[in-house]
C-alpha cells in the first residue's frame, strides 16, 4: 500500500500533509488529487506515526475510504459543498453512529452509539471524511491528556511532554499532521490549552453556537465544541460546518451562522485589544510572557491599539469552576450505571453492588475525584456555601468581561501559564494541574468565545496567544488571528520527526 502511494505522482507524501484545509479544498476543486488519495495519505501516516503520539483511539480506515469515494463521486456530480472530501478527525467525545465512542474511558470502551452527534451529522452532510476518533482526557476532565483509559497522548514537539488536555489527541493529531483538522471540545480550556501546547490553532465558540446534542456531557453550562487546525482560516472553514441552530439542544442559540471566512481579511487598523493585567501576574512563565508580548506588538504594527484593562474577579475563576464543573459532572455522569449501555461489572451480587463496582471499575481516579467533589458541593448543607456562591462569582466574572467589552473589541493574553510540561510533573496535586487553565477558565464561565494561536517557541516548545471575543463575535477573533498569521509564521512551524519513515523532511524551520 505504502509503495503504491509513494509511487503516486499526484501525491507528494513529503508535503501533502502540510496542506491546510483551505489548500485541500482548492486542490480537490482543481482536481489536483482526489479525496481517496489524500485520505489514504493520512491513513498511511497515522498507521506509521501515531504509535509515537497515541493521538487516535479509533482509526476508521474502511469507512474513511468509503466516505472519500462517495465524496469524490459527489464532487464529480457537481453538487458538492465546500468541505466535501476533506478528511478530519473527531474527538472521541462526539457520538458517531456505528463507531465506538469511548470518551477516553473504560466505562464506554464498548459503547457504539446508534446515532450521530449534530456536529458529526453536520460534517457528514458536508461530505467530510472521518479518519478516526481522537484521544482525550477521560470524560474531558484534564489538562494533559494523562487520564485517558487508552494511555496518554504525547506532544509531538517533545514526546516526554504532555500535549495539554482534554483535547490532547486532536491537538497532537493536527500538530503531527495526522489530520488537517480535528473537532474538539472546551469546558475550561480544553481546546485552547492543548492548541497552545501543540502549536496549533484552536477555537472555542460562544456558548450555544455549536450544538451539544450527541456531545457527551461533562459540564453542561460550560461545554462547547469547536475546531482545531493549523490556521485561523481552517478553523473558520470548520466552524462554518460545526455551527448551527439545533432545536434538539435547548441551549443552542437561534442566531444566523455567518460565513466565518467573510471577514478574515479585514485590516486590523483601529482594533482595540484589551490586555488584562491579571493575566500577566506571577505564575506566568517568562518565556511565554515574552512571546505573547511580542505577538501583541505585531498587532500594534498592524494598526491595533493595546488597552490596559482589568478583570478584577479573575482569581475567582478557577475556584468557581472547580465547584460548578464537578457539580454538573457529578450529575451528568450518574447515567453511567451499567444498566442500559457501557461497562457493567461481572457477576453483580445485587443492585447496589452492580452500581458500586461498575462505576469503580469504569471511571479513572480524576473522574472519581471530580464526581465526589461535585456531590459534596451540591450536598445538603454545602449547597449555599459552594454551588450557590460559585454561581454568584460566575456572574461577577461575566460582568468583568461585559464591562471590558465596553472599551475594547477583543481581549488578548497568554493561553497557558507555561509551555508543555513533562508527564507526571504535576504529581499528586490535582490543584497544580487545575492551575493550567487559569487564563482560559473565565471565558467558559462567561460563555464567551476564545481562540489560541501559535505565537512563539520557548526551548522549542510552542506558546499560544489567547484571543477572547465578545458574544457571537467569532468573525472578529478569526479576523485578528488570520491577520496575525499573514505577517508571522509561528503557525507554520511543525515538530521534528513527523515525516514518514525513510523520508527526509526538515522539522521546525
Amino acid at each position: 500500500m505504502t509503495d503504491s502511494i509513494m509511487n503516486n505522482p499526484r501525491i507528494d507524501d513529503t508535503t501533502m500533509h502540510n496542506k491546510t484545509i483551505a489548500d485541500i479544498i482548492a486542490g480537490l476543486d482543481a482536481g489536483e488529487f482526489t479525496s481517496v488519495e489524500i485520505t489514504q495519505h493520512y491513513l498511511n501516516r497515522i498507521k506509521q506515526l501515531d504509535s509515537s503520539y497515541n493521538s487516535y483511539i479509533t482509526i476508521n480506515e474502511e469507512s474513511a475510504l468509503a466516505q472519500a469515494k462517495a465524496a469524490d463521486k459527489r464532487r464529480a456530480e457537481g453538487d458538492a459543498p465546500a468541505f466535501c472530501g476533506v478528511p478530519i478527525a473527531h474527538k472521541d467525545i462526539f457520538c458517531t453512529n456505528g463507531v465506538r465512542t469511548s470518551c477516553g474511558s473504560k466505562m464506554l470502551d464498548n459503547f457504539v452509539p446508534p446515532y450521530n452527534a449534530t456536529v458529526v451529522e453536520n460534517f457528514a452532510n458536508a461530505g467530510a471524511v472521518i479518519l478516526g476518533k481522537t484521544n482525550m482526557d477521560e470524560f474531558a476532565m484534564g489538562s494533559s491528556n494523562e487520564t485517558s483509559f487508552y494511555g496518554p497522548v504525547k506532544n509531538p514537539w517533545d514526546t516526554n511532554t504532555v500535549p495539554g488536555g482534554s483535547s490532547g489527541g486532536s491537538a497532537a493529531a493536527v500538530a503531527a499532521q495526522l489530520a488537517p483538522g480535528a473537532t474538539a471540545t472546551d469546558t475550561g480550556g480544553s481546546i485552547r490549552q492543548p492548541a497552545a501546547l501543540c502549536g496549533v490553532t484552536g477555537l472555542k465558540p460562544t456558548y450555544g453556537r455549536v450544538s451539544r446534542w450527541g456531545m457527551i456531557a461533562f459540564a453542561s453550562s460550560l461545554d462547547q465544541g469547536g475546531p482545531m487546525a493549523r490556521t485561523a482560516e481552517d478553523c473558520a472553514l470548520m466552524l462554518n460546518v460545526m455551527a448551527s441552530f439545533d432545536p434538539k439542544d435547548s441551549t443552542s442559540i437561534d442566531q444566523a451562522v455567518p460565513d466565518y471566512t467573510d471577514n478574515l481579511n479585514q485590516p486590523l487598523k483601529g482594533l482595540k485589544i484589551g490586555v488584562p493585567k491579571e493575566y500577566f501576574e506571577e505564575g506566568l512563565n517568562p518565556g511565554t510572557e515574552q512571546a505573547v508580548r511580542a505577538a501583541l506588538a505585531e498587532f500594534e504594527k498592524q494598526g491595533a491599539t493595546l488597552v490596559n484593562i482589568s478583570l478584577p474577579h479573575s482569581k475567582l475563576a478557577v475556584p468557581a469552576y472547580y465547584v460548578i464543573a464537578p457539580a454538573e459532572a457529578s450529575s451528568n455522569l450518574s447515567r453511567f450505571d451499567g444498566v442500559r449501555y457501557g461497562h457493567r461489572c461481572e457477576d453483580p451480587k445485587d443492585l447496589r453492588d452492580m452500581y458500586m463496582r461498575t462505576r469503580a471499575e469504569g471511571f479513572g481516579d480524576e473522574v472519581k475525584r471530580r464526581i465526589l467533589v461535585g456531590a459534596y458541593c451540591l450536598s445538603a448543607g454545602y449547597y449555599d456555601a459552594y454551588y450557590r456562591k460559585a454561581q454568584q462569582a460566575r456572574r461577577l466574572i461575566k460582568q468583568d468581561f461585559v464591562d471590558a467589552f465596553e472599551q475594547v473589541d477583543v481581549i488578548m493574553g497568554p493561553t497557558s501559564p507555561s509551555p508543555a510540561f513533562e508527564f507526571g510533573s504535576k504529581g499528586d496535586d490535582p490543584v497544580a494541574m487545575y492551575l493550567e487553565d487559569i487564563y482560559t477558565i473565565a471565558t467558559n464561565l462567561a460563555g464567551l468565545p476564545g481562540m489560541s494561536v501559535p505565537c512563539g517557541l520557548v526551548d522549542n516548545k510552542p506558546v499560544g496567544l489567547q484571543i477572547i471575543g465578545n458574544y457571537f463575535d467569532e468573525s472578529r477573533m478569526l479576523n485578528a488571528a488570520h491577520q496575525f498569521q499573514q505577517t508571522t509564521a509561528w503557525h507554520q512551524q511543525a515538530p521534528a520527526g513527523i515525516a514518514l519513515k525513510g523520508k527526509d523532511v526538515g522539522g521546525a524551520k
Binding site: 456558548y207 450555544g208 452500581y355 462505576r359 460563555g447
Partner: protein, 95 residues
C-alpha cells in the same frame, strides 16, 4: 473546611462508587486539596449578587406536542449489557 474519611465514604455511597480501601486516604487528601482551592471563594464579596446558572440570557423554547420518535428498540438493546423479552435486566430490585 476539613473533610474526613467518613465524609468521603458518605459521598461515595451517594455517588455509587466503591472506593478502594488502599486508596481511600489518598482520595480523601486530594479532595481536601480541591476543597481548599474552592474555599478561596469564601473571600469573595457576593452580597446581593444573583447566582448565574447559565452563561446566556436566553430563555427556553417550548416544543410542539407531537410524536416524532419511532421505536429503535433493536438498535438500543443491541448495545445493552443484559436484556430479555425487551426488558433491561438488573439484579433484583428490593423495595
Amino acid at each position: 473546611m476539613t473533610i474526613e474519611r467518613a465524609d468521603i465514604e458518605k459521598l461515595a455511597e451517594l455517588a455509587r462508587i466503591e472506593l478502594n480501601e488502599a486508596t481511600i486516604a489518598e482520595t480523601t487528601k486530594s479532595i481536601a486539596d480541591v476543597l481548599a482551592l474552592v474555599d478561596q471563594l469564601q473571600a469573595a464579596d457576593t452580597e446581593g449578587v444573583e447566582p448565574m446558572a447559565h452563561p446566556t440570557d436566553a430563555t427556553q423554547r417550548l416544543r410542539t406536542d407531537e410524536v416524532t420518535e419511532t421505536t429503535h428498540r433493536e438498535d438500543f438493546q443491541a448495545i445493552a449489557p443484559a436484556t430479555e423479552a425487551g426488558l433491561y435486566l438488573v439484579p433484583k430490585v428490593i423495595d
